[in-house]
Symmetry: C2
Subunit: 113 residues, 2 copies
């Protein structure tokens, strides 16, 4: 992983929720690969952190699951619940505001792409 994993802390759930908001349904392994591709390998979510996170999201009622079989191999799809959609917006907004504060604190010029 490029970024020190300490920076990722606190943002993993937000990343997962946002992906599910954009994609209707995804399975765990797919999420790890998607993040890797989207970030050009800069963020690598390990399975050891993702699966417990997904279980937590389900526990909290923000996602629901459906299990399918691809041949003999199981695949567990996750999709946002209505509560999860609300939570996603909250989380993204909170992170966005946190970033604005950090940009100011650290004197960073944000990419105005």
């Amino acid at each position: 992983m490029t970024y020190s994993s300490e920076l990722i802390k606190g943002t993993l759930k937000t990343i997962v929720l946002k992906l599910l908001a954009d994609n209707k349904r995804m399975y765990g392994y797919e999420i790890t690969q998607r993040v890797k591709v989207l970030t050009l390998g800069k963020i690598q979510i390990t399975e050891g952190s993702l699966y417990p996170t997904l279980h937590a999201l389900e526990q909290e009622g923000w996602v629901s699951t459906e299990t399918e079989y691809i041949g003999k191999r199981v695949r567990k799809y996750y999709s946002l619940s209505p509560a999860g959609k609300t939570k996603t917006k909250e989380r993204v907004k909170e992170f966005s505001e946190f970033m604005d504060t950090m940009v100011f604190l650290l004197g960073i010029k944000p990419k105005t792409s």
Copy 2:
């Protein structure tokens, strides 16, 4: 509103280093107050997290200290070492790049203030 402390995780050292880069020397309590003022109360660094962090920075050789007495009360000033100045730039840059990645991932419009 105070940000959930989970978001702060991984950024505390960076914040402290940047403040020291801008201010030549500061003491612990002063840092907590400065951050509170600069962020309009949105980020509150507790003493229970700041002091151990400062000790760690000293341990790593990124800051040096000078103790002064204000009356009978002790005050411990911290200032960046040359290695600390380099480290600060690295840390700020790393966070900046992480933010760019997150902005893209989360589809956030950064403040182009």
